[in-house]
């Protein structure tokens, strides 16, 4: 999509044009449509905020949803006793998620001594084959949804990148120009990713902009995981209590 503009009688005029393999706009004829509405899909990223908060090791895999926890063949993370399966551990689709959950459960049972290595191997084998099959579709979908290398760079200066905080591409570029080299520094300097979605929508694009043409996503990092992940109604957290029943720590020093 190159442009969306208001058209007569409340409809929208949309111009689309060709892109190259990296997602960058390429030369060639534009086509125009008059439509009632435009729905924008921004790809798919792995929701790894829980494993990030818990400080498991993560690695960047563009074709599997970005920053995902590093897991072994049985979905053990770097933290003992913590397993990660499903799209939050790397996009593979719903079918793979349920099979992988079975594999993680078998591994946990084995780790706890409830399943012998032989029994584990026997029961895991068919699940591994099922997981492989399920991943063919899920993996293809993830690759299709991944941010392509030329897409972030092609964002116009006045486009809002962080929709929660209305931060534009130009504001992000200005902060990078002033020396922000990580997404967390960029977040502090622009409020990008500080809003209710906590950077889930903009995080991938912002990191690509920070990484720049060199594409060093590892150095740009990821937004630090912070609770409560989703906006939490304050009243639901604190309940009802009398002031006299508040448990106050000792006063600060004078």
């Amino acid at each position: 999509v190159r442009r969306v503009e208001p058209a007569a009688d409340g409809s929208l005029a949309v111009a689309i044009g060709p892109v190259d393999a990296s997602g960058r706009p390429a030369g060639g004829p534009e086509r125009r449509f008059e439509v009632d509405a435009v729905a924008v899909g921004n790809g798919l990223t792995a929701s790894s905020d829980v494993t990030r908060l818990l400080r498991a090791s993560h690695r960047f895999e563009a074709d599997r949803g970005g920053w995902i926890p590093a897991v072994d063949a049985d979905f053990r993370t770097s933290i003992g006793g913590l397993f990660a399966v499903g799209d939050g551990a790397g996009l593979a689709g719903a079918a793979a998620a349920s099979v992988d959950g079975g594999l993680a459960g078998l591994a946990a049972a084995r780790d706890l001594g409830a399943l012998s290595p032989e029994m584990h191997a026997r029961r895991a084998a068919p699940l591994r084959r099922a997981s492989e099959r399920a991943r063919r579709f899920g993996g293809a979908m993830a690759r299709l949804m991944a941010l392509r290398p030329g897409q972030a760079g092609a964002i116009p200066a006045d486009t809002i990148v962080c929709r929660c905080e209305d931060v534009t591409r130009a504001e992000i570029d200005a902060a990078i120009g002033e020396g922000a080299t990580s997404v967390n520094q960029l977040k502090a300097w622009t409020r990008c990713g500080m809003g209710p979605c906590q950077g889930r929508i903009c995080g991938d694009v912002v990191a690509a902009l920070v990484a720049g043409d060199a594409g060093r996503r590892e150095a740009a990092g990821f937004f630090t995981g912070r609770t409560p992940f989703r906006p939490l109604p304050l009243d639901r957290l604190v309940g009802t209590i009398d002031y006299a029943d508040l448990k106050l720590p000792p006063p600060a020093p004078l």
């Binding site: 002033e178 080299t181 300097w189 809003g195 409560p228 957290l237 604190v238 106050l248 720590p249 020093p253």
Partner: protein, 381 residues
């Protein structure tokens, strides 16, 4: 880094928070060639994640004169820092909801007023006139017209701009692993083998000062506070002042962008090695209950983010700012209660001392805090 390695600086400052960055800035403006070294990005620890309060209601009485100077500097940042860090003046209120709190409020207001803070007791009706959002069930309040807040997360951006203009060599993401006296100066060893050499050394590492002083063979226990902060989504204006409680356990303000920040030094889990790890549910709930009690309209909002910031404290809870004993041209700055408020002033005082000028106010001799070598570590917490 290779350029920095070849050069011998007039001064090297380790720790790019407000204390270290201000010291480095004024040393550079005083004519020195300065390197400012940090293991991470500039102002991304306490200086970038604190509650950004400019209150005198929570400042230790003895530090009131320093905090008043620091507050002025924050409000005047466009003039001397070259960039607005979002500092805004606002009135400040400290509240009492019980008889015991009223007694504490009166005593504390008097002690702070004696040190020069323009704090006076007001009636509940007067307090509500200042802050219509208050819970009207309060018994008493202390009022201070000199209060306000800074958007702490902008600190690094403002300082980076000023430091660059002043010619400070900023070495971010450069973890220091050791320092030794060498050739009438100091050699700083960074992870990966890089070296920074300087005639003068300033340690400004906040909760990591205990480790840093250890590099020089000095043993100074530094306690690490793990302060919890909570921020809401943007909401319509519900308050226009900075609100606290007599016991100092609440720091509440609404920024121009509509978000409300809830602090007050409630403790979470963490330490200098792991940083802030996680909030304690009972402390999270207690802090937020207190905030909602003070400003009832907060019940309508949602919490967006919870985080922890590390604050350093010495054995006597007073700062250490000055020359290190037994060493030539080595200095320390840090462990200042409400240190974000007074930081720009504290850094300037130390820079004046290093530049051979008489500091406007007294420094805080670190010698009193140094323990004899060989004492066991278990005594610190």
């Amino acid at each position: 880094m290779s350029g920095a390695a070849a050069e011998r600086f007039d001064a090297a400052v380790i720790g790019a928070g407000v204390m270290g960055a201000t010291t480095a800035l004024h040393l550079a403006r005083g004519g020195m060639r300065v390197a400012l070294v940090d293991r991470g990005d500039i102002c991304r620890e306490a200086s970038g994640v604190n509650a950004g309060t400019l209150t005198l209601h929570m400042t230790r009485a003895a530090l009131i004169p320093y905090a008043m100077k620091g507050r002025e500097l924050w409000l005047d940042a466009p003039a001397w820092l070259g960039m607005d860090a979002g500092a805004r003046a606002a009135p400040g209120l400290s509240l009492a909801f019980t008889a015991a709190e009223r007694e504490m409020l009166e005593k504390r207001a008097e002690a702070r007023a004696a040190m020069g803070a323009p704090i006076r007791l007001v009636t509940p009706a007067e307090a509500v006139a200042v802050e219509p959002g208050l819970n009207p069930s309060l018994l008493a309040a202390a009022f201070c017209e000199l209060d306000g807040h800074v958007t702490a997360y902008l600190t690094g951006r403002a300082y980076r701009h000023a430091l660059t203009e002043a010619g400070v060599v900023l070495l971010e993401n450069t973890p220091v692993v050791g320092v030794e006296a060498a050739g009438g100066g100091y050699q700083i060893r960074a992870e990966g083998g890089d070296r920074v050499r300087a005639a003068r050394l300033v340690l400004a590492g906040g909760v990591w000062l205990e480790t840093m002083l250890g590099w020089l063979g000095l043993r100074v226990p530094v306690k690490c506070l793990v302060n919890q902060l909570v921020v809401t989504e943007r909401l319509q204006p519900v308050m226009r002042s900075v609100v606290g409680i007599a016991n100092g356990l609440l720091s509440l303000k609404q920024f121009e962008n509509g978000t409300v920040l809830i602090g007050g030094g409630w403790q979470g889990i963490g330490d200098p090695v792991r940083g802030g790890v996680e909030a304690k549910p009972e402390n999270l709930i207690g802090n937020v209950q207190l905030a909602r009690h003070a400003i009832p309209a907060l019940r309508e909002t949602r919490i967006v983010r919870i985080w922890l910031g590390l604050e350093a404290e010495t054995a006597d809870a007073m700062p250490m700012i000055g020359a290190l004993p037994g060493l030539d041209e080595a200095y320390v700055v840090g462990c200042v209660h409400s240190g974000y408020t007074s930081g720009p002033y504290m850094g300037r005082l130390l820079a004046d001392r290093i530049l051979g000028r008489e500091p406007e106010m007294a420094l805080f001799d670190p010698a009193r805090l140094i323990e004899p070598a060989g004492r066991t570590i278990e005594e610190t917490t």
